[in-house]
Symmetry: D4
Subunit: 163 residues, 8 copies
């Protein structure tokens, strides 16, 4: 179970961290690389082309603004590609989102919410769970725990209301 | 290899057809249902809850406007959910896109382009290919064929230019 | 006179508080729950289905991003549903607004402004006033008081101008 | 059971018709007026001020572009006001929507989808059903019928798939 | 030479101040009122209807969100109405702008930039200058002075570059 | 009473015609020129600089896309400038609107709705009416007639409802 | 003088034709290729890498939706890259524009208007004119001719007005 | 090798500085002027008209809001014009971007990202490199160095992950 997480810049790391953490929690190995579709195009392509042989099973591409990285990965590889659009200092993330999600026919990118790093990690787990049933079991436990947390939050709100 | 395609209305069928056709080409069985998150919420939830037992391995949720269907599926099921936002008569699809892709942490929807039905089907194939290696082989062939078609289109353009 | 206020997350509480306060001022009882359309879908549906029997007369659904909660309530219940879109960290609330207001035919959500919690509470009062004439009387008094406050604000501005 | 439907221009009638029809189906009387917040402000205000005495129980305000009509009604009356934003020839209805839904604190407008005329009518029915229990019964029947129609649409799609 | 400046809320005062100051500089008298299209509709209309008799020659209407104030003035009065859209806490002023500028045929509002209070004042001066030639002279002097300020700014930048 | 109407291209004429017609109705002379801020910058500036001497009292600048014409006029002249943003084939007029209305401090453009040609003409009449009282009288008559037309439209709708 | 024009799909040809024609008029040779950043990434990169050696002096990259082609070229080549965003069937070209223009630091794309094919060609001519003075001369002649055409359009409008 | 950088206001200097620095690094002389299309239109035009004679080879026009400066330069000069849209306090830079990039046919502006000052400088270098081969060599070195920096950032991220 191995996922490659590529990000266009180390400034994206604080957001991308959420995806790495999520994979860690589920025991999924992640290979993380700062590789830019624009600044290191050849290395990016080379990394992606070799990925399948090195046991990578899917990609998470993280980028902002004219966010091409996920699309470039999807152009080269046949593995599923998750796109994580990063909000930058202008346009509130709309540019990143549209640059990722509006891919042309034939080359899909599975896009999650702007800055939705936890979801990028969880979607990877869900996809891997087709092959690794233990991840399905773990994901179901995660869903239960998430519901439990909502209960706790509800209790907290009730307390605030009664205070 | 079985995918469930849910759409909110039969008026979405002409778009959704592109995803069904793509799955057919790859020999992936699809179960198609018109089921609405809002008009038939109980049946939608029931269908989704039973899906895994009935061999469904992932979902494609297609909806327009306040497009909740994919999110509702993702709330109930642990299977991966692909979201296909449908362009409706106002807002040029932006409402459908944001309603699908901006899911809260914990409940991802793998969103493709507005009206990107072919990509919804292809993304399903890519995800299934983790478990079914023959689909990976077929997808690689598809990518080659797609490149061939670009060559043909290029030839066509050269002809037009020389005419 | 009982209103159910559902919010997707306790992080929405600081905004939602405005609606609760408004109902309190008018003497309308409110039942407040953190219940998520996506994280606790079954409990959300169950709560909504039992609401009418337990004396709930209308709902206020509060959520951000891909804000499905109000729509999910409206799918299950026949009571009127007020939607309060919450501004989150990206897209300035446009995602929440469109996810709430653009509901398909047959399942309306009465949407108020982004973060318009006071108006969510007041709209609830106005709707209840069809059945409870004392609320109509109180609302008219509120409107007068609101006009008085504008007079005071005007006086304050005149002072600033003359200073 | 009487609803006043005000529209800014007779050019909106083809859209507004959907709300009138819906009210008719539920046996709710509707008083329809072309009255403009901008072109006939005094008559609009006068109509709204007299409405409660004449048995009007809620308003539906329909307008496009800088769509002030619903807000003007809400400023004058204490009755609930439903806002129906009409899509015009520019801006795809976003101007109408924002002009209606973004009302300041104290003066809510219950806004439905752009061109969502059926929902404007249904929301009126839901609000009236607080006072008139027979409308609640009828609305529940409507929801069942709507679910039935989804079943029929599903059957139709199955036929198309098997053809 | 008398201009009426109406604002929907005293919270807009810090922005509106820019327009008042500009009028003061040109020696144009301004009557400033906090009057809301929604919270004090009758007083707003009454003020506007009496304005011409009281020597008001044009209006500046300032409001945010669903910014109806300028449009309401324009509906009642035949004097020119300048609209100053105020940026509020959501939607970055787009709601205010569209609510002001997209007025229907027959009822124009002369809209300036979001938070463009200085320009609201200057446009008033330019309009008044049709009748009061001394304002035209003063405005031409203002334009020269503005050019001078650009020269000074340019000098400042040259210094920074040479530093 | 003389107004200069400048348009960037003759393709805008069908829209601009609405402003010319309105001025004609009120007996205001209009000088119409196709002059582009970008294609004929020197002639545009020259025309604008000579305008005041030739009796022009205000400008209407009409342009689409990166609509600079009104701003260029406002930079050169001290006369009031009305901006009429024209909807072009992309971006639904948002580009034209923002390019016109978002003018920097010191150089206002009195912007009307996208394609709001009638309002551009009427605003010109309202501005001229400060100097020419007969236009004020005529504008008040116009407002009455406009209200009459609403009454006729209302009558028409009542007929349709009773049919 | 040789320009390479790459387009993502032959469906873009009708738009791109405008750029080719413009180059032809100025006697600039153009090499046109249908090459996709996503469907034929390796060939696209190969073409771009060899371009400088084959005498290409700048690129025009034309694409729609998640329009990565120009960015991919700019990542690989050191030649200037002009980006021509193509309007597709959703989002009115905003996706194409943002995907092209919002390039990260270090990798600029000189973006022109949505569907602005003539300008893509003219910008190429202007850039080439740094090296080829005859193009500067020709461009100045073009500007004069463009002004002449405005004069003719103005004459046409005068005729229409006098008719 | 001489580039003219014009900015509309000295408040833009902190952003524009990025372009100046970039040109300095490549040894390209820059002439910087605060000159406004609206506040000093005649001087702006005069500067632009004389530029070619004074050895200027291209322009960078920097402006915010209704950002006309680059377009005005392009209207007057035959030299290539790079447009740098500056983000201001409202609309997140969308107004600046659209005002610059959506230029009409015949008058292109080579637009870079919102606040993309480094790219404005680099694009200038790339354009100049057509004439000055040493800049091409330097740009290729810059691209290599940029790739090196990505490697270092990648190393930094690996360290953080292993920490």
């Amino acid at each position: 179970m191995k996922v490659a997480i590529l990000m266009g810049s180390d400034s994206d790391f604080s957001v991308v961290k959420g995806a790495i953490d999520e994979l860690n929690k589920f025991g999924v190995e992640s290979v993380v690389r700062v590789l830019s579709a624009h600044r290191t195009p050849h290395e990016a392509v080379e990394f992606v082309m070799n990925a399948e042989e090195e046991g990578i099973e899917l990609f998470i591409g993280c980028a902002g603004k004219a966010a091409h990285l996920a699309g470039v990965i999807a152009g080269v590889s046949s593995l599923p590609v998750i796109g994580l659009p990063i909000k930058s200092s202008t346009m509130d993330g709309l540019d990143s989102l549209l640059s990722m999600v509006q891919m042309p026919s034939g080359v899909p990118v599975a896009t999650v919410a702007i800055n939705g790093s936890q979801n990028a990690g969880l979607l990877a787990v869900q996809i891997l769970s087709l092959k690794y049933p233990e991840l399905r079991v773990a994901f179901k436990a995660f869903k239960k725990q998430m519901a439990e947390e909502v209960h706790l939050k509800n209790a907290k709100v009730q307390e605030m209301l009664n205070a």
